[in-house]
């Protein structure tokens, strides 16, 4: 799995792993989806455009995930997966999706994107719950 939650007393912290920035975004969407709706099935029915912006990979990652969270919170668009143009998913349906918890925000706390010797990118992200 390209993401791993690690213990955080108050909120949720996840380590993402991928070979490039789009891969990190994909792992971030998968982690966020798990926090929001657990293992509920989510179809890649439609796409919402997101252009990640920021001065470095960490800022771009956080910006992208914040946009995905906003779509869920304001438009009830459940993310399924990251796509080349943004994020794919479907509208929230009460019988199909289990809203597990409220994720207030994607924080900048301790965020950095590191490249290891084998070329893998790693980032840790804290979600405010």
């Amino acid at each position: 799995m390209p993401y791993r939650f690690f213990p955080h007393t108050g909120d949720a912290a996840v380590e993402l792993e991928a070979s490039d920035e789009p891969g990190l975004r994909a792992a971030g969407v998968a982690a966020l989806r798990e926090l929001l709706v657990g293992d509920s099935p989510v179809a890649s029915e439609s796409e919402r455009r997101i252009s990640p912006s920021g001065h470095d990979p960490a800022e771009r990652l956080i910006h992208f995930l914040r946009e995905v969270l906003y779509l869920y919170d304001a438009e009830r668009f459940v993310p399924a997966e990251a796509s080349p143009g943004g994020v794919r998913g479907e509208p929230f349906q009460a019988g199909r999706h289990r809203a597990i918890r409220e994720v207030k925000a994607v924080t900048y706390h301790g965020v950095e994107v590191r490249r290891s010797e084998d070329g893998t990118l790693r980032a840790s992200v804290v979600f405010d719950l």
Partner: protein
Amino acid sequence: MATAPRLERIDAYRWRVPKEGGMRTHGLIFADEGLIQDLEGDQAVQQVANVAHLPGIIGPAIAMPDIHWGYGFPIGGVAGFDEAEGVVSPGGVGYDINCGVRLLATPLSITEARPRLAALMDALYRTIPSGVGASRSDVTLQRRELEAVLRDGARWTVEHGFGVPADLEAIEANGTLEGADPGAVSDRAKERGKSQLGTVGSGNHFVEIGYVAETYDAAAAARLGLEPGRLTVFIHSGSRGLGYQVCDDSLETMVRASGKYGITLPDRQLCCAPLGSPEARHYWGAMNAAANFAFANRQLMAHYARRALDQVFGRDAAERTRLVYDVCHNIAKMERHEVGGEPRRVCVHRKGATRAFPPGHAELAPQFRDLGQPVLIPGDMGRYSYVLLGTEGAYRETFGSTCHGAGRRLSRHQAKKLARPRNITRELEAQGVLVRAATRDTIDEEMPEAYKDVSRVVNVVHAAGIGRKVAQLKPVGVVKG
């Protein structure tokens, strides 16, 4: 991540984080030995040290005994900044701007209420929407009304029939913070907030029915309407999606501002701007507007709690239910404090901490002037909560601040794992606490064992002199999101 900073014991309830590296001052943590041991393995102490790096900090970077690992500031963090040289940091306020609590005292005793408690819990669950993305269809605000809420806070709510004027005197800042600028709140934030006024939300937010189980100062408790056995309503919520979005919107600007003003940060979440800068002024206007939304939110929920009491116990019970107090937990405010014997205006950040002004403070309403400010400390949903009063000690040592709650002990993941083979709702009901909740997930994550025993936290602030115990409340019913 950096190695954990050193801790030096000052006395039984105080620990110093020595000034090292880029720290501009030392850290000061209020805790006993056991609470300090609870911090092992997380980054809360590092976060105290990080706050001490910020420009213009006055006195130490402070943490209350309910300190735990947050983002930017630790939860339980307090810091004061000089008006001229200091900063404001959204990470020192948090996403849930003016998350806070309010306590109502009903005229009922637990003995007379108990036979109809289940009906009361059902009525509360029906009248106050809870859970992820909870919204109200009966109070959806048009843009102009939303802007009035952002400007006027709880005052707008009372003027529109949701509560009585006397409620306003029992709210921090009378339920309206000055300096709110509805124009500084983004359309996104307004969109997220427009149908969430009067909703409790999810996570650790709640509406709780309890009773006064014990008093430590019977006269003060009676003055607050908290005689032994009295039925109470405790509400914990904040500015909902509107506040989260205000914080989120400000962070990108503040990251840029930190670079622009040459501020070196140990953690990007501490991004900030000098208090007089345009970036700070914009955030200040939006933050106060979100705080006003939160005051109005809790006021509206209190109105619906009174309506639930009316449905179950009749109009007299509802009309005689009065607000004990309402306090912010997450806020930055300009306040007057004495620093080195001189009066100074200080920007006090409280993130997971409560204002605790002493007797005689000019900002307190006349009925609290000789008592000190009521301070409300919720515990977990199985044990107890406390009512305290503000003290001179807090005013001298912590910019008039004290703790805000129990503080988590287990991560949500750990709590769910522990709760999985059990039925927490049934366990609580066996202890005499009725639970109404949208999902099992929240109940499991919020199980009593997930929190520290709040009495340990309260006993530290009482013994250290930064709060004074007045009463203990025990829960008998809780609505969770």
